[in-house]
Symmetry: D2
Subunit: 327 residues, 4 copies
């Protein structure tokens, strides 16, 4: 049994706490949140103790720490936990600022390979199936890779202002996915647009297209939107010399409807990440636990987190200055 | 060039006239209809002469006759045309009455093989593809066969009264299809029901399920309805030891819609037989022309017409008496 | 917390044990199986005690008993548990023999409403969605109901011999589903066939079509096969005056493939009931727990179990004697 | 009846000849091709005269001319026909060279509105349905537009060398489509890559992604490939504030297959443009004939041809120089 602490009792911390509690090789041992009400409530749900300070987590006897604190605290919490000898799974991004993420990576040294960064979509069964089949050569040489990723509804303009922008906050998942399929990225061209005046006023784009050139010349494409009236639109297509694999959206049932108006009509797609990626969070945790038990490295790790941030930074510059940015 | 006359200038005659006119090896030469207005109008469309009496068709120099007259006249027109040395393609059914159809077959003798009966669905590209792939062994041994066949809207109760009932009028197409896949039928169990009071009052069923036992023991199933709010529901499923082939409905475009209410929603299916089976009518004519050019026999022919009627008669008795009927 | 014992440590008992262990309002308290190895192993997995005799379960302080013992013991275990004041969830069927099931129902008296019978498919999210939407009037008046239900592979001929036949062993789930949608059944016509000689030699059918007439005249249709090369084929279609709802098979991912051979190709469907109905088992338990907490009755209960058996008996006679059987 | 001449008896001329011959308001009157064998053969098929020189077409009494000659002759043939008072439908592109196309437009003056350029995809029923429903507001404000367009197999390297490059030769259809949906384009960013060494050696890309900025700020995306093992991949997606409309590929039948390997597997998509766009060619001709009968202007016309070429030129520069190109 691996003993886990969860730092951050917010929405994402709750997801991780539940995943830990129901994993046969994991034990939820400690909750940490500076807001005592939050900490108390989540800890109470599982009958475990809570603390208010991350330092108390590091000083505790837990084996592993899941970091779901606000992004500006990620590096501090990663370094604190690793120095205390804990294994770490930290939510993305490593930091809002690339320099800060690189500092984290550098201070971690060889340990950077052992800190998992929560690019959970790599563990989604549908996306992982596409990746595994591409890797197995089922579509020959992979030649083009396209991601469509749209959130159901935009965050408040206030959140957007402090989020680092759409590329660092939202597209970063897709950047990691393109790297996962095409390898390292050498050039980024990003094109932002706005359908929502309030986001424009907050100085950010709410829609974007990003074209990424991989080191071997292949091209990946990302289409993003902060809003999508039909739900959390999460698709990808891998095109290769021997075929294509397409990941569709998921629905909660397999019911089709025919009526005077429509035929073959499915119900709504899974609403947002807590539903859409519930299996991904669970499988991410399993992969982490396997690595902890094997005392080995993990993927995606801090290096992947730094690389995705580099791409996000480049995209931010590209969209602003209207030119391709090389990495 | 094969010179064609079309007897009957109604809806189905118009379909055949158009198919003939646009076939490279066919020439529309004569239209016949006792209602001069109808005959004149259709003939005028193609700039061909018309006559009012079928005998004038038989006496003419056409090579082939397509019979789209009312069912009670089919046998008379088939025999007249064949005696005059014409090749014949006659709409289904051969007759409303099995004895009459058998008389036709018997009088035709060896010619019965050369008169095509218009079970057009055998020529539908989708259904024909299922049949060809089953025949090629793609799903191993065919074991179960299911047809779903629903009309968009019920005919007037007045029509129903003279139609011979749902099994002779509507299901007869499906009976032919089951025979096409499973071979001769030895037992029929039919189950009628009513969702439309006016059809019930006219003494007919407007919904039915029929189970057919083939000579080799395999079982086919037909589900029928005279009404279907989403259109002309025409599907089938062939299930075998190595897989299944399913024929879906056809839509006029390949557009899918996602909105707040639905996802993957297709538009309406093709509305009724003139749209749904436009290719089938065309390919039926081609098969007929090929047989005429080869001076050979055709399938489906009068024998198939008689066999389908036998099944329809058995189904009528079965549904009425609540028992299986052997053939 | 409701304390549960599970009688029967076989495959289905393991499913229930896991569902209980992960339900927040349930506590797995006791395992019972006459084969000590089985009991010990399952109990060990959850760190709970085990017993060898059902009487020890009845004498224990558990609140509820899940019965997954062999069918011949169901009635004895139901009655024993109920007499000891326990709430009961028993696997289907109530008994192999209708008379035995009726005896159980009669001895239970008013308690028959409170014993749940495990027709788990009613709780499958996809089928439950169809049922709820039909009940909400989304497709108007329900007029026709069709179930396709095929197992991936036939059980050993030895099992078949003692199973009571395909209708009692396999179709019984579908009978319950038709009753769930169309209400009580008044007439059954069943048509068996064989694709597997070894099942024929064991005196059973391995394929069947059943037509059921409901009390209000509507007709339901079931298509069964003991084998299906593409997996566990579990579909249904509800057809009504305002549309149709179709339940498709489920796949483990949402990946589509295009290659030189195929397009839009999905992967395998979920393999068998432990995968396909994992959510159904979980939601069945939740419904049961809700009823226990409310001290109320449950659906489906022993009455539903008896009714499904009546239909299965009638189907068995119908298929053997080649005639409709009234209930 | 409108009397048509077809200039060019090659593959595309044959398509147009057939469309004219089967259109009720059109009469195929003359074929023109400098290669007498070609001209004779096509003319013979329809029993019409042929000529070898375009001037003889202009001097003839035809009402309309369809130009399917090699691209370098388009402008000469357009101008010759228009000066002779004929209506013109010319295959895309207007010219290989933008200056030449602009000269054509300028010389035509007001007549430029009356010369149709064969961007046939606008008339494809599936794409036209998407456009009409977007225009009708079915998905609210259109915000993002994506085209996937892949040819089944690359042309010979020799053809590629003289084709003007992928953007002028292949993507030009997609440029017209993006303009059709998003309006005039103000900036183009194109990204080429190569999966085929022989195309790379011929100095062209065989794969490309193009991002287009419309005058109102909206962004369109095109993904191209010269090869696609599963056929002629022709899709688009219109995303708006109230939903999305997606155009899928078309198959020749509506058959789905389930086997041990795949489920829901469709057959091959329509192979190439002669099959995929057969309806589009027919409907394009109908739209042209309607305009001729009304003595009115047409869309798409020479202006659209010039605009698409401008985008193609910009894309060519963009891909070569690695920077966005403004129009």
């Amino acid at each position: 049994m691996i003993r886990f602490a969860v730092i951050g009792a917010g929405r994402i911390g709750q997801v991780h706490a539940r995943a830990v509690a129901s994993h046969p090789q994991a034990e939820l041992a400690l909750i940490c949140d500076p807001f005592e009400d939050n900490a108390k409530k989540l800890a109470g749900q599982y009958g475990v103790p809570y603390v208010l300070e991350a330092d108390e987590v590091f000083a505790s006897n837990v084996d592993a720490v899941i970091i779901g604190s606000p992004t500006p605290l990620h590096v501090e919490h990663i370094l604190g936990a690793v120095r205390a000898g804990k294994r770490v799974l930290c939510e993305k991004p490593v930091a809002l600022d690339l320099a800060e993420a690189e500092r984290c990576r550098d201070e971690l040294g060889a340990e950077a390979d052992r800190v998992m960064i929560g690019f959970n979509r790599r563990f989604d069964p549908t996306f992982a199936d596409v990746h595994a089949r591409v890797a197995a050569g089922e579509i020959g040489e992979l030649q083009q890779f396209t991601v469509i990723s749209r959130d159901p509804a935009a965050p408040p303009a206030g959140y957007v202002a402090g989020s680092g922008g759409i590329f660092r906050d939202m597209t970063i998942h897709d950047f990691d996915m393109v790297r996962h399929f095409l390898g390292d990225i050498v050039e980024v061209s990003a094109f932002g647009s706005n359908s929502l005046p309030e986001i424009a006023e907050a100085g950010d784009f709410d829609q974007a297209v990003v074209v990424l050139r991989a080191a071997d010349g292949r091209v990946g494409t990302i289409v993003n939107s902060r809003t999508c009236v039909y739900g959390y639109d999460q698709r990808m297509e891998a095109f290769g010399s021997a075929g294509a694999l397409t990941a569709d959206n998921l629905t909660s049932t397999a019911v089709r409807k025919a009526s005077a108006d429509v035929t073959e009509a499915r119900g709504p797609i899974l609403d947002f990440f807590l539903d859409r990626y519930v299996d991904a969070y669970r499988l991410e945790l399993s992969a982490f636990i396997d690595a902890v038990l094997a005392d080995g490295s993990v993927v995606p790790n801090v290096h992947d987190g730094v690389e995705a941030l580099k791409v996000a930074d480049a995209a931010t510059v590209s969209a602003k200055e209207g030119r391709p940015v090389k990495l």
